[in-house]
Subunit: 132 residues, 2 copies
C-alpha cells in the first residue's frame, strides 16, 4: 500500500448561508437553527449554525479526493459534534491515517475539524477500503 | 421527558443527480463515483452512487424535525455504510429511541436507512441532547 501511518491531509471551507439553504433542501433537514435568524437568537447558539453533517462532508471530500483518494470506499464514520460551526466561519477538516490492516486494504483515520480559532468542532474516526 | 424507549420516526427521499451535484458543490466532495457515469461503470458499484454523508442527512432531518424535533442538539452520529445508494433510488431513514439517560436530557437512537428492496444501506447510532 502506498500509504503509511501518520499520513495526513486537510481541506478548508467557509460555509455560507446559501450552502446551508441548499443542504436543507437536499437533506430535508430544515431545522430553523440553520436557517432562521430570529429563531437562532433565542437558542443556546445565538446565531445560525451549519448542519454538522454538512461540515462532515469535508471528511468525505478529503477521503474521496486526497487521502486515500479516488477508488476508496467509505465503510464507517464516527462523528462527535463538539462545538457549533457558524455561517461564514472558516472550517478546516483534517484526516490522519492511524492504522493500516495487514490482511485487507483497509485503513483507519482520525477525522477532526477546527474553526478559525483552532477550536475542535468535530472529532471522530473513519474506516476506508482502498481499491486502487 | 415526553419521549420513551421504542419511539420511532422515519422519512423517505429519492436523491436525484441534481441533489448529488449540489452536495458535491457545497461539500467539495467531487468524487467521480457520484458524478461521472463512465467512471462509475468501471467500478465495483457499476453506477453512480449518492454520497453516504448526504444520505445520512436524513437522520439529521428526522432528529431536527420529528424525533426529538426542534430544540435538539446533535452530539454524536456513528455511521456504517453497508450498501451503496444509487441515484433515483428511494431511501427510507428510521430512528428509534433505545436509551434515555436519567441524569441528563440525553437520548440515544438507532439510525438505520433502507433502500427500496428493504436492504439495510446505513446503520448506526445517534446521541442527542433535548433542550425543550
Amino acid at each position: 500500500m502506498k500509504f503509511k501511518i501518520g499520513d495526513t491531509e486537510s481541506i478548508s471551507k467557509t460555509f455560507t448561508k446559501e450552502d446551508v439553504i441548499k443542504f436543507s433542501e437536499i437533506s430535508l433537514d430544515v431545522n430553523p437553527i440553520h436557517l432562521d435568524e430570529e429563531y437562532a437568537k433565542n437558542t443556546v447558539f445565538g446565531k445560525n449554525i451549519v448542519h454538522g453533517i454538512l461540515v462532515s462532508g469535508l471528511f468525505s471530500a478529503i477521503i474521496a479526493n486526497k487521502l486515500p483518494g479516488p477508488g476508496s470506499i467509505y465503510l464507517t464514520q464516527e462523528l462527535n459534534f463538539k462545538k457549533p460551526v457558524f455561517h461564514d466561519e472558516l472550517v478546516t477538516a483534517k484526516v490522519e491515517i492511524i492504522d493500516i490492516r495487514q490482511d485487507k486494504p483497509i485503513i483507519k483515520l482520525t477525522t477532526t475539524a477546527y474553526n478559525s480559532n483552532n477550536e475542535l468542532v468535530i472529532e471522530g474516526y473513519a474506516v476506508v477500503k482502498v481499491l486502487s
